[in-house]
């Protein structure tokens, strides 16, 4: 029990030791892969110059907007497609057709129409989350237990209340899961989205590190991306503790 809560620190500590040992034993030169100390030094340099904070803020800004816009568009549309069979019959094929196209394939289009800067990056993040969330919402609606609706009818729930009292609460846990997964994807795309001619962000830090042959910057940015990914996931996972979501886990 003494280890409680310490497990992650132990495994990260070990990973860093293995990393350092591998660099030393295999005599890997710093230009191929820097050791933990060099990366820590690079991170300190980036933090002190203010570049790290600026990059983190820029990346979070783009991901936030891209992800929020995707959620605002995908969830309502997903509800419509889930509820109305005819809308689904018309639009679902198009959705399924567009869904497997990687956001990266849109880079040329984004650059030409939205230009260099935040808008292109936000658009790519939006694309990465929009389709998965749409499909999540739609299948959540389709997966509602018939029992819930029947019980609702028996209690005389009709009209708009059918949606607010039965549909939304029933799909809420699925939507939260969907949000959690797509936020992960959105954060995953940040490097690619910032490859294209923005002047800031963690993705840009990686590209710029490459161009200026600073592997230590590249690895430092990778680590920061990983840490923020963890924090984002943890934050959204808190949503699963909400009473309106938790019921489904209790039931299971």
């Amino acid at each position: 029990m003494a280890l409680k809560g310490l497990h992650p620190f132990i495994s990260f500590g070990l990973a860093i030791l293995v990393w350092e040992a591998a660099i030393r034993c295999l005599a890997i030169p710093a230009y191929k892969f820097p050791g933990p100390l060099a990366v820590a030094e690079a991170m300190k340099e980036l933090a002190l110059s203010g570049r790290l904070l600026a990059s983190v803020v820029a990346s979070l800004f783009r991901v936030t907007w891209g992800f929020y816009l995707a959620a605002c568009a995908a969830i309502p549309l997903g509800l419509v497609l889930g509820i109305y069979g005819s809308a689904r019959a018309f639009l679902n094929p198009i959705v399924q057709f567009l869904r497997p196209i990687s956001p990266l394939a849109w880079i040329p289009v984004a650059l030409m129409w939205l230009g260099i800067g935040d808008r292109s990056a936000i658009f790519l993040i939006f694309l990465s989350s929009f389709f998965p969330l749409l499909v999540f919402t739609m299948s959540a609606v389709l997966g509602i237990k018939v029992t819930y609706i029947r019980v609702g009818l028996n209690f005389g729930v009709t009209g708009l209340k059918r949606y607010t009292k039965i549909l939304l609460p029933a799909i809420m846990p699925d939507i939260i899961t969907g949000l959690r997964i797509t936020l992960g994807t959105a954060w995953l795309v940040i490097v690619a989205a910032e490859m294209i001619a923005v002047k800031s962000g963690l993705g840009y830090l990686i590209i710029d590190g490459r161009n200026s042959m600073r592997m230590d910057y590249v690895v430092a940015a990778m680590i920061v991306i990983g840490i923020i990914g963890l924090v984002l996931d943890w934050t959204v996972s808190r949503l699963e503790m909400l009473p309106s979501v938790r019921w489904i886990h209790k039931r299971r």
Partner: protein, 328 residues
């Protein structure tokens, strides 16, 4: 804590979460607006470049103009296609771009003119130290990286193969972005590459590659990057553009007399290590050259003919028609 709990109970945890989500959106947006550089104002000229020593005049001109408060907005790109798309989207007025790209864009109907060369020479064919390739003929069957097919590097490689009696089709040619080339060579993925500096010098300094041939020897007066101005900018902002091009031209002249200082100025702007730039500029004076930058119609006509032969454009261009020297 008690108070927060009470508020939380008052509005319910679901609404709390929504409130937190909105608060986050506002916070991060304000932070971004506060920290990031002010958005590109369209008042200044927008110039695109890549972190290569071929674009050194951009770095030096930027430094000099900044001191007089007449600077431009410089956009650093990592790869040619990104810059091409930004140019087509209307985000750039001036671009340091490979001559064949500029000509192909003109061929595709994107209007603009070549106003200046960015440099001469400054390109080398590098082979891996362990490859055992000692001559151009030795490249047969090897994997050779080029920056992009619309490049003078590709045309030069084609010409070298032809001069040595074989076709470029006998090579396994791959397109790779310049910063990746030294890594690919070190890892053995490719056997050779042809690229603008400092990416040839990098492999040389790190001991992973050897220069097989400098373009100054294979193709006297070799041109690669040019300064390309959109027709829009040439028409509407003639004076500003002319002043800027003159600054680039002057910067070239200045670099020739102050190579050491130029390396110091350019390093932070290009984001390249200063010793590497210094090596490129000082190892020999004509490894890359910034004099004689006025493009000659004949050179560009000849280049366009090479491009036709390589299947990059449909018909040759008249050099005079793609050059605009009215800024002089």
């Amino acid at each position: 804590m008690n108070l927060i709990n009470r508020i939380g109970q008052g509005i319910g945890p679901g609404k709390m979460a929504l409130f937190a989500a909105i608060a986050w959106l506002v916070t991060i947006t304000l932070l971004h607006a506060w920290i990031s550089e002010p958005g590109a104002k369209k008042r200044r000229l927008q110039v695109g470049f890549l972190p290569i020593t071929c674009h050194l005049t951009c770095a030096v001109a930027f430094d000099r103009l900044s001191k007089t408060g007449k600077a431009f907005d410089a956009h650093k790109f990592s790869a040619w296609p990104d810059m091409i798309e930004a140019l087509k989207g209307g985000d750039l007025d001036v671009a340091f771009i490979l001559a064949p790209i500029a000509m192909a864009m003109e061929d595709q109907g994107f209007p603009g003119k070549i106003v200046l060369l960015a440099h001469r020479n400054g390109t080398a064919l590098v082979v891996s130290k362990h490859s055992g390739i000692r001559s151009i003929t030795g490249l047969k069957g090897a994997t050779v990286a080029i920056p992009i097919r619309y490049s003078c590097q590709m045309l030069a490689l084609r010409r070298l193969c032809r001069q040595h009696g074989f076709s470029i089709r006998e090579l396994n040619m791959v397109e790779l972005s310049p910063p990746d080339m030294p890594f690919a060579l070190a890892s053995g993925t490719i056997d050779a590459y042809i690229v603008g500096e400092p990416y040839a010098a990098k492999a040389e300094l790190e001991g992973t590659g050897r220069v097989l041939c400098q373009m100054r020897d294979a193709w006297p007066g070799f041109i690669s990057s040019v300064v390309f101005v959109t027709k829009h900018a040439l028409k509407d902002r003639r004076q500003e553009v002319s002043r800027l091009i003159r600054a680039f031209y002057q910067a070239g002249k200045w670099i020739e007399g102050h190579r050491l200082e130029a390396a110091r100025i350019a390093a932070p702007f290009l984001g390249l290590p200063e010793p590497l730039i210094r090596y490129v500029l000082l190892s020999s004076r004509d490894r890359v050259s910034y004099s004689n930058l006025i493009p000659m119609p004949k050179e560009l006509s000849d280049l366009s003919e090479e491009m036709v032969k390589a299947g990059l454009i449909k018909r040759p261009m008249v050099g005079k028609e793609i050059i605009d020297l009215s800024w002089r």
